[in-house]
Symmetry: D3
Subunit: 68 residues, 6 copies
């Protein structure tokens, strides 16, 4: 499937925290940890849990750059 979003990072779910409206999902992507905040509804619908393989999708306009 083609998508305009330039950044797709495959990873494995390491942590899920379900809140009342939002959910936090942490992925391992290579040597990096990626944290995503989505709706709880989406997390449940996608049956996100530890060990699941999933892809982070990020629009290029959302990526800042920093020296550090």
């Amino acid at each position: 499937m083609k998508i305009s979003g330039r950044n797709r990072l495959k990873g494995e779910v390491k942590e899920v925290v379900l809140g009342d409206v939002m959910a936090k999902v942490v992925l391992q992507v290579g040597d990096n940890r990626i944290t995503s905040v989505i709706t709880r509804e989406a997390a449940e619908e996608m049956e996100i849990k530890e060990g699941k393989e999933i892809t982070a999708l990020i629009k290029a306009t959302e990526v800042m750059l920093t020296e550090e």
Copy 2:
């Protein structure tokens, strides 16, 4: 420096395209390519060019998840 942004991905600049207002910067981060769109002003101020080490900074609320 502490920052609320959860995602910091260190990489090396592979491509820079300077437009009239915006600039596209592509990084190599581990096995992934990360594309960022920032202002041309920021790209010039930070002297971003191929080979430079730089960090992508992404707010957790900007990260979608997708099966695929």
Copy 3:
């Protein structure tokens, strides 16, 4: 394909403006016009042109509400 993004709006491309780095794409979705700004690279890779059927994808955290 399951995706966390809550908003998927099917439409037809009505206008494309290719800039140096970014591209503007206007869709007709029911009675509404939806404007998207993506990278020129994405617009070319997806071969976006007038008449093409395409889906706008929007994260719920990006949607403001206004009385008007």
Copy 4:
């Protein structure tokens, strides 16, 4: 009132979930459902409830495009 945000979708509130910090609001806009996540404070201040007419406001840079 003029606003730079290109996308304004009028709809009717179908569901509200108030969380501790955030709130989820679902609108019916034509044949589509639009989900918005705003602060609980904003939802209370705007007295958002089922049946209310309201407008979703989305910046063009926040709209991805996908084939599907």
Copy 5:
């Protein structure tokens, strides 16, 4: 007009750069400079030019925090 966006900063336009698709607008807000990138179409429709009074509108989920 009520709006869910929590941050409205009144200022005066100090600089406008019109690009092919996007436009950069710099405001003076108290002691701070605020830079906004919107579509060129919006900048033209709103007749944004130096000296104009205008309000920056920012969703709370878009604001990072940093020590420094």
Copy 6:
């Protein structure tokens, strides 16, 4: 430290609300109040509390403009 994000607003924390996943932080910046929503994890890690000096960081592409 150089950063591509064009908007850095120094302020003082006036209110913190810790939710299950997200946290709301309100700053005083000159005559304006700025509201930020970040992860609870970030708020705890940064030890954000009333009176702390902190900087809001906002990407230019996230700033809408409105007449009002």
